[in-house]
């Protein structure tokens, strides 16, 4: 049963539909092993954002605080989503990568596993 309610016709409102986000969508991003960062991040971005723009313009604003960030070799980064590994194309948009509203993208930097073992 999707909900237990006194009235059988009860319907609750889903609050987070994409139409409320002023033309943008939410994207969740997780840098694996980097637990010092505390949590996977959530940012509003346009669905037309390309992967190249994500790496060049969005990620530094989030992750430059971490000393591993400047050491990343982007050619070696392993990307994935809940559906499995993802090979990104720098010139294609989030939408073309099927990264829709509230999707989560994760990346692993195999030689960088947290500053001084502190995450």
């Amino acid at each position: 049963m999707p909900i237990k309610s006194i009235r059988p016709d009860y319907r609750g409102e889903y609050k987070d539909g994409i139409e409320h986000f002023n033309g943008q969508q939410l994207l969740n991003i997780c840098w694996e092993k980097h637990t010092m960062l505390g949590w996977p991040m959530c940012v509003p971005v346009p669905a037309t954002l390309t992967f190249g723009q994500l790496i060049d313009n969005v990620l530094p604003g989030i992750y430059a605080i971490h000393p591993d960030f400047e050491k990343i070799d982007w050619d070696k980064v392993q990307w994935s989503t809940s559906k499995g590994p993802l090979i990104p194309n720098r010139n294609k948009s989030l939408r073309e990568h099927e990264l829709r509203h509230k999707a989560q993208i994760r990346f692993r930097t195999p030689e960088l596993n947290g500053h001084n073992n502190g995450g």
Partner: protein, 531 residues
């Protein structure tokens, strides 16, 4: 006139609960008590409800009155003697901000919930017990407010508790917990709150943490804490009685009750993560670690409880083993995220001192030095350089408990948990298997969550006087202001905070006993500042 023989406790209680109620004659019982059937719970005989405390109304008022007199005598003495300046240091006071802003709202919500039960349950005995509990919960909210409001005259961040409870991002965690319970049916509510929350878990707040408050010189807080918990002992007994009653009424109730125990144990445990932090990081002098407290109060005492319930076919809560695996890291993960995001919380943050880290190494031998000490030492270096570590990006939130997805895999503290599902074509994220399972059971309930991060991004967290078109508009500062947190005042680094500076000015003692004075008001106790 011969003196009537005094009734025994049992006779007196039976007269009250069985003698005063009546059978309705011109209305149907299901119309008078309309909430008793939709949850699927089957009750055949309400007469089997037993309240072991057998508290009658006259005894209730008498003993509650005595408790109040004792409590207020202590609070008065504390206030008259400037007790707020006799606690260990000004870091301790920061924990009271979590208390006033989070716990008081929970007590008030509990009052709402139990008031409903005092109306809806199908027999006089549980209605009386829940009505007394409702009065208790209101007493807790008011005594906590009275005790802490004295601190509010001297320190920041305690002056707007009901507003913060309804608006602040991290207070949506306790708030949504109780809203979830209050919007459930009466039987789920009482299993959730009286059993899973109060019986299994509140001892952790009111015993080791309150004992720690006493150890740090806060007689006011420990007194309301212990006074509240003495009511709680009665509530816990009610919680156990409810479980036994439901399980004995019908074998079909067992599976429903087990599901509620699984769900609410996990929900309550996630809320209590805040207490782990308060115990390990916010008590300058410590009584025991979260790890030790969890071992005693959940594994040993909770273990005894579930061994006793096994005869009904009840198993320990699902995911209980995850809580045991998490106990060595919970407070450290939690303090890390508060520190890194200190500009958007309602109290200032500090890094653990050398003395505290040595204590953590001893209390958390398998985790602290391996995972958390390197992080705190690195952050200390940055603080010393004048460039403290600061995160500025909002988190992915758990759709159910509303914590950021900050937790790590049960078997690997270096890997974030990723749990995701789709419902009605939309994506949802969870912090744990526990929260994921709760969602899958009632997705239409949890899609309604008001998630602070998403609300901020929608632009819904603005006060009426905020002007997004103004050139100096700062969306994050405006969102924080909307949440009842004063930007640049309430959060930040403890050593720069007005509470720390005022503490040293008013008491001439260091605001952080482990790191010495941070202002030159302290001359008497700190040699490096003596002239």
């Amino acid at each position: 006139m011969t003196k009537a023989k005094k009734l025994s406790l049992k006779q007196n209680y039976t007269m009250l609960t069985k003698g005063l109620d009546w059978e309705p004659s011109y209305q149907k019982k299901e119309d008078i008590f309309p909430q008793l059937s939709f949850e699927g719970i089957k009750i055949h005989n309400w007469d089997n409800w037993e309240d072991p405390f057998r508290l009658t109304i006259d005894a209730y008022w008498k003993y509650q009155g005595e408790k109040e007199k004792k409590l207020y005598a202590i609070i008065d003495a504390f206030q008259q003697n400037n007790g707020q300046f006799n606690v260990t240091d000004a870091r301790y006071i920061q924990a009271l901000k979590i208390f006033i802003n989070a716990v008081v709202g929970l007590e008030y919500s509990a009052w709402r919930g139990f008031t409903r039960l005092g109306r809806e349950l199908g027999d006089a005995s549980p209605r009386i017990a829940t009505q007394m509990q409702a009065i208790d919960e209101m007493r807790h909210a008011t005594t906590q407010t009275h005790a802490i409001s004295h601190y509010n005259r001297f320190f920041e961040g305690m002056g707007n508790a009901p507003y913060q409870y309804d608006h602040a991002w991290y207070l949506s965690i306790p708030k949504s917990f109780f809203d979830d319970a209050c919007s459930a049916g009466p039987f789920e509510f009482i299993v959730a709150i009286s059993f899973a929350f109060e019986y299994v878990l509140t001892n952790l707040v009111f015993m080791p943490w309150m004992s720690g408050a006493a150890y740090n010189g806060d007689m006011s807080t420990v007194s309301f804490g212990f006074s509240a918990q003495s009511d709680e002992a009665r509530h816990m007994t009610l919680g156990l009685e409810v479980i036994k009653f439901l399980l004995e009424q019908d074998p079909d109730n067992v599976a429903i009750v087990q599901k509620w125990i699984d769900k609410w144990f996990w929900r309550a445990y996630r809320v209590l993560s805040l207490v782990a932090t308060m115990m390990d990081y916010m008590l300058p002098k410590r009584v025991m670690s979260w790890d030790e407290a969890w071992t005693i109060y959940y594994e040993e005492n909770g273990g005894a409880l579930f061994a006793d319930l096994a005869r009904y076919g009840i198993k320990p809560p699902r995911n209980a083993e995850v809580t045991i695996k998490e106990k060595g890291r919970l407070s450290h993960e939690m303090w890390s995220i508060f520190y890194a995001n200190r500009d958007v919380v309602g109290f200032p943050l500090w890094l653990p001192s050398q003395e505290e880290m040595a204590w953590f190494s001893e209390k958390y031998p398998d985790t602290f030095d391996k995972y958390y000490r390197p992080r705190f030492e690195y952050w200390q270096e940055l603080e010393d350089l004048g460039t403290p570590y600061t995160n500025s990006t909002l988190p992915q939130l758990c759709q159910v408990c509303q914590w950021p997805c900050l937790f790590t895999e049960a078997d690997d503290p270096t890997e974030f948990v990723h749990r995701e599902t789709e419902f009605d074509g939309e994506i949802f994220h969870f912090c744990s298997d526990g929260c994921h399972q709760i969602f899958e059971d009632e997705p239409k309930k949890y899609i309604q969550a008001w998630l602070p991060v998403h609300q901020i991004y929608m632009g819904n967290c603005l006060l009426p006087d905020a002007d997004p078109s103004s050139p100096d508009f700062n969306p994050m500062a405006e969102a924080i202001r909307y949440m009842g947190i004063k930007p640049g005042v309430d959060g930040g680094l403890f050593k720069d905070h007005s509470d720390a500076k005022n503490w040293e000015k008013w008491t001439e003692r260091p605001a952080n006993i482990h790191q010495g004075a941070s202002t030159d008001f302290v001359r008497k106790t700190s040699s490096q500042n003596s002239k």
